[in-house]
């Protein structure tokens, strides 16, 4: 493989992996902050238990987001030095702002929250969590500003062939970023909603399976209590409330992603028309949305693709909000791109062996077509399941079916898949550009960069392969460990986050029981 391919695989793998952790961090963080706020306002035990339990899972995952996020900050310089030199004047600023304004707040106040139980006044402790969580939302905004500039460059002038920032406000209010931001936050909430629902379903099922909760002949739930203090009636409230919260959040989040995604799509039809044509695998201009296209997408040739099921008018609606406008297909767009941006890569040494070769403007159709549909499909399935679950939960517990419980737990993966597919679609759909041209700017203000020009010229294939293999294998091992840890803590129930609930009161008389009352003992310790 060539350096460019390895560098692209590395960026793709590390970024998709990072973005498995990030939506859960953002979404679950917001929900835990809501739970603690409810506890602060009502003093109800179930809210405290929810905060502690979900907070523990949040932290196990949070650290992986932090650790893998480090790689992101470095890898533009490591593997994409030409890109960094070309766009640094603009692209570096949101990254630096993210660190200065968001990461410091996030890490510092999360440390205060983790270790501050009982040491900080309750309100201050709660505000620390809100500060950390809102900072992680802010960091999402800054990184989306940076990414949106690659999708739709604005706020610059060209000096010596390079884009130079001349309007930060235009960059911060790039319409691409303003719709990507809510889309991403709703996507994160969809992940968190499914996470709450699936795990709470398991615990409600487990309580029934262990004979604690029963359903009498008239269909009413009889809430019971086991000997362990962690499995009392409050425990039932913890899971029922979490499940309902998760279901509601999942449904709202899907509606939010649909509305913001629709706005995003309409922008993309203008800003990167070929990305949207590739999402449809549409060759000819038309109005119909393909529900199922068959043929050989992999051949990258339009002649091999037949839209088997097509809904007339829907594509026009997605692009323009009406049912009649013809949306341009690949056959029209490729010549347009060739005319504007050239048919062959320039004879510039930064392209290496690729200099002078023909430019393929068509993104990989298999990836864009299916990425787009997996994103929408998984998102919709998760929302539909959440709606059904909300209805099933109306009487206060879940069915005894083990099969249904497994489905609920497995369903946690659906919104993760939707998030990953959406990003793969949007990044692969931008190819062959790393900075896509903004069609509103013509002539000397037009700035764009081919991905082939972005890679570090001095870095060898051996180095790239070494880091790709090292990072991918470390990430794989850590993912297995994280998932196992999450399973362990989920199986332990609330007591895994609140050791004081692990024992019956009688246990506290002997052994290490007295230490917990000692004023010197830390209320939380690693």
């Amino acid at each position: 493989m060539e350096a460019l391919e390895i560098a692209r695989w590395q960026f793709g793998i590390t970024t998709v992996y990072h973005f498995l952790m990030v939506p859960l961090t953002i979404g679950l963080g917001l929900l835990v902050a809501v739970m603690q706020t409810l506890w602060y306002r009502t003093g109800e035990a179930s809210y405290l238990r929810m905060t502690r339990f979900w907070g523990k899972l949040f932290l196990i995952n949070f650290i992986m987001g932090v650790a893998t996020g480090l790689v992101q900050e470095f890898q533009f310089g490591l593997a994409w030095s030409e890109y960094s030199r070309f766009v640094g004047d603009i692209f570096g600023a949101p990254l630096a702002l993210e660190a200065l304004l968001a990461f410091f707040v996030e890490s510092t106040f999360l440390g205060l929250w983790i270790f501050g139980w009982q040491r900080l006044p309750k309100l201050v402790h709660l505000l620390c969590l809100w500060a950390a969580v809102l900072a992680s939302v802010l960091s999402a905004y800054f990184i989306l500003v940076a990414n949106s500039w690659m999708q739709h460059p604005v706020g610059y002038e060209v000096v010596d062939g390079r884009p130079v920032l001349n309007d930060i406000w235009a960059v911060l209010t790039n319409n691409t970023a303003l719709v990507a931001f809510p889309h991403t936050v709703f996507g994160a909430l969809a992940v968190a909603g499914a996470f709450l629902l699936g795990i709470s379903w398991y615990h409600l099922w487990k309580r029934r399976n262990d004979g604690i909760d029963t359903v009498d002949a008239s269909g009413r739930v009889q809430i019971g209590a086991a000997a362990a203090p962690s499995r009392d009636a409050t425990d039932h409230r913890v899971w029922l409330r979490s499940a309902r919260l998760g279901a509601v959040v999942a449904m709202i989040a899907f509606a939010g992603t649909a509305v913001s995604g629709d706005l995003q799509g309409k922008l993309m039809f203008d800003q990167q028309p070929i990305k949207m044509a590739a999402a449809e695998a549409a060759c000819h201009d038309g109005t119909g949305f393909s529900v199922l296209s068959v043929g050989n997408l992999g051949s990258q040739s339009c002649d091999d693709i037949v839209a088997l099921v097509e809904v007339p008018g829907v594509l026009s609606f997605l692009a323009n909000g009406d049912f009649t406008t013809e949306v341009k297909g690949v056959n029209t767009l490729v010549p347009e791109y060739q005319e504007k941006y050239g048919t062959h890569l320039p004879d510039n040494p930064i392209y290496g062996d690729r200099a002078g070769t023909e430019i393929d403007y068509l993104p990989v159709l298999e990836v864009t077509y299916w990425g787009f549909r997996i994103m929408i499909g998984f998102g919709a399935i998760a929302a539909l399941a959440a709606g059904i679950a909300f209805w099933v939960l109306r009487k206060g517990t879940v069915p005894e079916s083990r099969w249904l419980m497994r489905l609920a737990v497995f369903g946690i993966l659906a919104p993760f898949g939707a998030n990953a597919a959406g990003w793969i679609f949007t990044e692969m759909g931008r190819q062959p550009f790393v900075v896509a041209p903004n069609p509103e700017f013509a002539g000397i203000d037009s700035v764009f960069m081919f991905t082939a020009a972005a890679v570090s010229p001095g870095v060898t294939v051996a180095e790239l392969l070494t880091s790709l293999i090292a990072l991918a294998s470390v990430y794989a091992v850590l993912l297995v460990i994280e998932v196992r840890l999450l399973f362990t803590y989920v199986r332990g129930g609330v007591a895994s986050a609140m050791p004081e609930l692990a024992h019956t009161p009688a246990d506290h008389d002997g052994g290490s029981g007295h230490r917990a009352d000692d004023a010197d003992v830390l209320s939380f310790a690693y």
Partner: protein, 340 residues
Amino acid sequence: MSEALPTLWFVLIAVLWAGYLFLEGFDLGVGMLMKLVYRTDSQRRVLLNTVGPVWDGNEVWLITAIGATFAAFPAWYASLLSSLYLPFTAVLLGLIFRAVAFEWRGKVDSPAWRNRWDWAIALGSLTAAAGIGAALALTTTGLPINANGDREGGPFAWFNGYALLGAAAVVLFCLVHAAAFLALKTEGGVRGAALRVVRRCLPFALLPMLAWALTVQVRGGTMLTALALVFAAGCAAASWRSARGNRDGRAFAALGAAMVLMIGSIFAAAFPVVLPSTLDPLFDLTVDSAASSPYTLGLMSIVAAFGLPLILAYQGWTYWVFRRRISERSIPAAHAVTPL
């Protein structure tokens, strides 16, 4: 005014690196000391909990130093990172292991599990400290970069004595800085062992950093940078005396000041070159040739002027909240998570 902006940002980046070494310096060192000096689980847990609430915030100084370099000096960021591809990859892997180890170590109650993560913390901290030390030394002494700023000569072309010197400088500083930190933050046996490390090792632990500073001093130093090194030596001596006199706070602060003076002297002596080329001085990256536009630098200056004091204030508050000394008595019993 706008001509001064690149210089201002050079100073700010030096401040960010000094801040990073001061803060994460002790938590990297604590990580290494976990395997080097302390043997029992309860001692190691004392160590972990002295840095537990703050290590992640300390690490953001690194992210900010790198991010600010990208924004203010894109050419410096691009050349330094791509030239030192493998060392920075190693630093990242070290930091990844260390981060998850901090959070996950106590999550399973088993000695084998803890031992594995203790190694991850110790080796991850060592790798990160060594790699960052090597990178900082090389950016002040030079790399084989061509006219475009790309490294020539293959994956290990960066390797030389200065890389080793920088690695040794930062690793040894972190170790003794961490020991001074632990003397200040702990009680009992943990503190005693930490004080012994400071008293025995402090004088020679700073020698590699001094040697690095003198190298840069000889190449481009001024009276002012030389004076800073004299003051640094004075601070180091004061730190040593304070440690022998059981004045933990003073020992820690003076040691940190010695490092800040040395790093300040190194950056000032290297100015205005941010990354010298060992191939041809014409290819040197300088403050002016590597800098972003005045608009970008001005914007960043405004944000930093508001942001940095705020960061110092709330990070300072964190240290105040967790100001109490920790001893083995403070550590709650390990807690096993069992399935229902």
